[in-house]
């Protein structure tokens, strides 16, 4: 078998399944990726209509409306859709993340045609019946409230607000009770009519099927889809973080353990330093032998888990460190984590570390492309972030090409110095006095994050 050799890594070629792309007359881009051997199909419709575009006062409306798509459409009630889809072992559903609204279908191959017809109805003709809106609203409000009991998700929500501030990337973390109470049917219809549309959507179909037959099916069901924007809306560039230098405590007095997050500026997806940053961060807090895991878990037994990562989106990104420890050892953990970031920033990784993580990232990369869902997701990312297919096919080679100098330079350039925010979820009375040395401290109640 042909192999590529670079930095001592021999890579067997990655077999990417054949990928057919066609733009329908209404502007919908259809990607067909037929592959076996299991008789399953994954369908994913991605539209640039995520939470960043939710209007003020109605934050979360896109996600809410996307989730409601399957609760009644084109003459089928919510129960009829559930019965028909779930009967054959399929699932259909919608949601929105920061940048996209996504509707997906997963089905056994033999039922693809009938399931795709329901999928198309859900996408094109949702009812948004008042009774379903009210039912869903009551449930989401209850969920929102119950989530306040989970320290990990509270920490993530507080971090996201402290990092993004008023930038639309904070919409998801800021959408709350008042927003959900304000949604009206006309808002959901407006989302569906004005923010979803074929010209800014990509459809990915991956799995065992006959391409020609499925293309005809897509044309027949989605070829008549109209409305929506002609061009994808633009997301304003996000710079820096909102609350640099601050320490934010979410008070949960019953906790014996503190959830810890450190947030700092990052880079956007496709950044020229992407590969050096991946290598550097894997050394710092990516794998199980990362410096953070070694220093926090292995050497000191301070926590069960520790890690760092870059969240990269179209118009900005963030860097974060996350861990947890018992109340008594909080400052010890924070000092170790901050020292490791500082050390990485000033000295970079060693040659041995770089070589290790290059093999680690490259070796496991193909396993990210094993399922229909994963392949659809990877191709969707390439399209969404304006990358090329080489992003996938050459990913391992680009990781292998990173030098120790590249990684050190990326660390020096992108890791934080003072512009970081610390978020802690735990017993405020016990921890507040101990963390003043890290910056001005403010204390929130969990209910302030609802």
């Amino acid at each position: 078998m042909k192999t590529v050799k670079r930095s001592g890594i021999e890579l067997r070629p990655l077999k990417l399944p054949h990928h057919d792309v066609r733009v329908l007359p209404n502007g919908l881009t259809v990607h067909l990726i037929p592959r076996g051997p299991l008789p399953l199909v994954a369908v994913r419709l991605v539209t640039r209509a995520g939470s960043v575009f939710d209007p003020a006062g109605l934050l979360g409306v896109g996600d809410f409306a996307s989730r409601l798509l399957r609760r009644g459409a084109a003459g089928l009630t919510a129960n009829q859709i559930s019965d028909q889809v779930e009967f054959v072992g399929a699932s259909v559903g919608g949601f929105a993340n920061e940048e996209n609204a996504i509707v997906s279908l997963s089905t056994p191959s033999q039922h693809l045609e009938s399931m795709f017809e329901i999928f198309a109805k859900v996408v094109l003709e949702p009812d948004y019946a008042e009774s379903e809106i009210e039912l869903s609203r009551r449930r989401v409000l209850a969920q929102l409230s119950n989530e306040l009991d989970d320290p990990g998700s509270l920490a993530d929500r507080a971090l996201s607000r402290a990092v993004w501030g008023t930038h639309p990337y904070s919409h998801e973390a800021r959408s709350g009770k008042a927003d959900y109470e304000a949604f009206q049917r006309k808002d959901l219809v407006a989302f569906h009519q004005q923010r979803l549309g074929p010209a800014i959507s990509h459809l990915y179909v991956t799995g065992e099927f006959k391409a020609a037959k499925v293309m005809a099916l897509v044309e027949r069901t989605l070829g008549g889809w109209k409305n929506g924007p002609a061009q994808a809306p633009v997301i304003p560039t996000a710079l820096g973080i909102a609350q640099p230098g601050e320490v934010i405590i979410v008070d949960k007095p019953e906790q014996t353990q503190v959830q810890v997050r450190i947030g700092a500026p990052g880079v956007k997806r496709g950044h020229v330093d992407h590969f050096p940053l991946m290598v550097m961060n894997t050394v710092l807090g990516g794998g199980f032998t990362s410096r953070l895991v070694t220093e926090i878990r292995v050497r000191r037994g301070l926590s069960y888990g520790a890690g760092s990562g870059f969240e990269m989106m179209s118009a900005g990104g963030a860097f974060n460190v996350s861990s947890f420890t018992k109340t008594e050892t909080l400052t010890q953990l924070l000092d170790v984590a901050l020292a490791e970031v500082k050390k990485m920033k000033s000295k970079g990784p060693t040659a041995a570390e770089v070589a290790t993580v290059q093999r680690y990232i490259s070796g496991l990369y193909p396993a990210r492309l094993e399922t229909n869902e994963a392949i659809a997701g990877a191709l969707a990312d390439v399209v969404h972030y304006g990358l090329t297919d080489e992003w996938i096919s050459q990913y391992r080679e680009r990781i292998a090409a990173v030098t120790v100098k590249d990684a050190a330079r990326a660390a020096q350039k992108h890791l934080f110095e003072k512009d970081r925010v610390i978020v802690l979820v735990g017993n405020a009375q016990k921890i507040a006095p101990k963390v003043k040395k890290y910056g001005p401290v403010s204390v929130l109640k969990p209910s302030e994050l609802e």
């Binding site: 008789p39 399953l40 559930s82 779930e86 072992g89 009991d149 199980f288 018992k326 680690y360 969990p446």
Partner: protein
């Protein structure tokens, strides 16, 4: 421990039924071998992606513990990453990662399972690493102390600071009075603090022997070469002693059992369990069907009734996990803030009584079976998933073939079977109820 066999007394199943083509294709590739020291080896070659997954299943879990050392199985799982004779402290993951791989493990009541995902070229290194720690794990006092702290922090995360964890722990002590399923897999805090090095060494000698392990390899590799490597590295490991039998001394339950957990929370919550059969009992598959009909999908009975129609709950889940000894059919209900746990219980029980009286509608039965079949395919989509699924089937059902043939066995289950199982198991006499009573939030 007795070897698990699929019971031969049931006449309904048809083990010779033909598999669907995609499953037959997988079955045809499986190569089985047992080394003289008792290590079972199963090879599942497939060249879809140039990676492999290597699974090791040990037939030991918290079920094999005793009071005083509860949690040792799980603590030991952590210790397995802390150095052996050839690959010393810190070397296991370092070697693996530098060869393009990663690892993880989990411990349950019945088994301890280790796995590595890695680029195919690293197969020999992975076999060497796994054999090294099975043969010659080092339990040093220093590593034990450090790992103990990690596990204590894990317990704080998953139990002491997690409402579901608190409730689950309370529930197990209600369901089981004598059986080791009574204590949590992670162990009681005091026991974790006091497990000794001698306990660990004794545990290792007894349970971490080749005759108590099954290895599954799935992915892009040459099976002949793999088997030769496994012989080379594992062949010299001596078989261990016979595994001590676990006595199931659980007395009959005489009536409903209840407990409360009082904790700051936004809403009440319920965890209710009924004592069920052992994993290899024929009723187990019927309860799988019932589990799916009750809780999988928005059209499932409990989700539709409690979440969408009566709006008492935010979510309902049913957990029917196969176990070596009689397990529990567990229903968790996350209530809405302000909802009444008593009324929710009554609504839930009314739904279950309906099934016990009238069984399932034909389309519900068919739907559950279709979903169980689709679930099997989805499990098999990755190297990791294939190794894990087939290995688990072998451990629980006696053979991986029985796992691939499950869909046809589910097909033989009738609405009357489901009704009878609901009537037999979901009774007040078999029930234990834990209610989360929210205390005021400061």
């Amino acid at each position: 421990m007795a070897t698990r066999h699929t019971p031969k007394t049931t006449s309904k199943k048809s083990p010779t039924a033909k598999l669907p083509p995609a499953l037959e294709a997988i079955a045809e590739t499986v190569i089985e071998h047992t080394l003289p020291n008792g290590l079972k080896v199963r090879l599942l070659p497939s060249d879809a992606v140039p990676t492999c997954s290597f699974y090791t299943f040990f037939r030991v879990g918290s079920r094999n513990e005793r009071p005083g050392i509860t949690g040792i199985s799980h603590l030991f799982e952590h210790m397995m990453f802390n150095g052996a004779k050839k690959y010393g402290p810190g070397q296991f993951d370092k070697t693996l990662e530098s060869n393009g791989g990663s690892s993880n493990a989990y411990t349950s009541n019945d088994v301890t399972v280790y796995y590595e995902d890695f680029m195919s070229e690293a197969l020999e290194t992975v076999i060497d690493l796994e054999a090294d720690r099975m043969k010659s794990l080092a339990v040093t006092p220093k590593m034990l102390e450090s790992e103990r702290q990690v596990v204590i922090e894990e317990r704080r995360l998953r139990v002491d600071n997690e409402i579901g964890g608190l409730m689950d722990e309370e529930l197990s002590t209600l369901i089981w009075k004598a059986h080791p399923y009574r204590w949590p897999v992670i162990g009681w805090m005091k026991d974790i603090e006091n497990i000794t090095r001698e306990d660990c060494l004794d545990y290792f000698r007894t349970f971490y022997a080749p005759n108590n392990a099954t290895v599954y390899v799935a992915g892009d590799f040459d099976p002949k070469q793999a088997l030769a490597l496994i012989r080379k590295y594992y062949g010299g490991i001596e078989a261990g002693p016979q595994i001590p039998r676990v006595l199931d001394a659980e007395p009959e339950q005489k009536g409903e059992r209840r407990a409360e957990v009082r904790h700051p929370a936004q809403a009440p919550s319920l965890m209710i369990a009924w004592r069920g059969p052992a994993g290899d009992h024929p009723d187990t598959l019927t309860l799988d069907v019932l589990q799916y009909a009750l809780s999988v999908g928005q059209s499932s009975r409990l989700t539709r009734a409690l979440v969408y129609e009566q709006e008492l709950a935010v979510s309902v889940s049913v957990d029917w996990t196969w176990r070596f000894d009689p397990g529990s059919f567990l229903i968790g209900v996350e209530l809405k803030p302000g909802a009444d746990p008593k009324a929710t219980e009554a609504a839930l029980f009314a739904q279950l009584e309906k099934v016990a009286k009238h069984g399932l509608e034909p389309h519900e039965l068919e739907k559950a079976k279709n979903n169980l079949a689709a679930h099997l395919y989805r499990e098999l989509a990755t190297n990791n998933g294939r190794a894990h699924a087939l290995g688990t089937y072998e451990i629980m059902l006696g053979s991986w073939k029985a796992g691939l043939g499950l869909a046809s066995r589910y097909q033989t289950i009738t609405a009357e079977d489901v009704r009878a199982a609901a009537a037999k198991y979901l009774t007040p006499e078999r029930r234990s109820v834990v209610t989360l009573v929210p205390t005021e939030i400061a």
